[in-house]
Symmetry: D2
């Protein structure tokens, strides 16, 4: 397994809402960006696949919001992946505030891949994510 | 109970991603907007409460993505609320495509309310959501 | 000329920033959505053209921010179009608060259309926007 | 003058639209984030000022879109500021693609600062941006 894949970043003020905290919907963006970076680092190019009409899609997300990020906060988004069935995989993800290692969001994002006909299809690159 | 509260709208093209479908993160925005309209229609003004430092916050979301909205699609977001514990409430929400009543997203969004000290506190307006 | 094309809507709370007002960047979204609705009402389908690799693109925007929209505000976005040159057209747009007709944003958005080779090309539907 | 202030980043896939390019509205976010980082690096904390009800506001933006960013592109946003009048200042900003130094967006963003009463007011920190 080893250490989870990580993407570090910093809150941008346009991501804050009127409560002065990162809007809940924005964490979905943070998680998606980290998943795509994780996939790319493992040989799966989301954008290139989309151009070939192979669509990686999310079918379920479970998110627990534990603490809020604010203006100026730096954070790390982690990603690990596990196979859930023949055609489903699950990403375990966390958003952790860098200053104090506070867990802000913990998530399970379940996805699959669809071919041009809209049928589940895990291409060899995607199969490669799950080891031998 | 009666019919659930509903907000009707139409996909905006800037909400689409490179796959030509509404980005998954955007559904969270759709759900939030419908919840705030629901609350307002029931005497709970999210923005006014935020100014008084009473913050309605989401602590967990579970979303199932069943079908995708595309450019030009009209949709309806529905909201019902139920009490889950002394300080937690759950919103059951659906996003349904108007043209064919296709269920696109089904969600459970669990929230609470926090006072200035960050302690759970359901103000009388919020208590009023759950009937006598 | 007649009356300008108009799209009415209401502020969504996730569009507000920490100042409690609609974030400046969001007005660009409001304007884009109204332009696409205007185009569609005039026989130009942005999404269908994009699928044919005919891309309507913005090359310049000038926006004056006169007043801010807040939570709960309803607004109308207006659109008129004029031809600026053989291959450029300009959209004059306004965002007006409905409650008191206050002008919030006034904009000029200049666009062109590009064909598959990235060369300016105004298709017959687009030419049709400017009358005979 | 010296070198302009710069913020480097990478396109996130949720920022792309159905044309597979960064949506025009997103550049406004890129520019805002770079301005806030620039201000912070020069002793002006946008969020802290907002909490004191001193609001830095944009009153006009002029943006020229020269080339598009795509999935995977890295870019740099630069910022310089100049005083335009007693109460107005202008940010000159560029978005440049890192791989080939291609200029993607060139912008002038004009702002002012408002005090609690909504009157223009440049606090000492803000005055400090413009040298002696």
């Amino acid at each position: 397994m080893g250490a989870p894949f990580q993407v570090a970043s910093k809150v941008r003020d346009y991501e804050l809402d009127m409560q002065g905290i990162v809007n809940n919907g924005v964490y979905f963006n943070y998680l998606e960006h980290a998943r795509h970076e994780f996939l790319l680092a493992n040989g799966v190019d989301f954008a290139a696949l989309a151009e070939q009409s192979i669509h990686l899609v999310v079918i379920r997300s479970e998110m627990d919001y534990k603490a809020s990020l604010k203006s100026g906060d730096e954070y790390v988004v982690s990603v690990t992946v596990e196979r859930l069935s023949k055609v489903k995989f699950g990403f375990r993800q966390q958003v952790v505030r860098s200053s104090d290692q506070k867990l802000c969001v913990s998530a399970l994002v379940i996805g699959t891949a669809l071919n041009k006909r809209g049928r589940p299809y895990l291409s060899p690159e995607i199969e490669g994510l799950f080891g031998e």
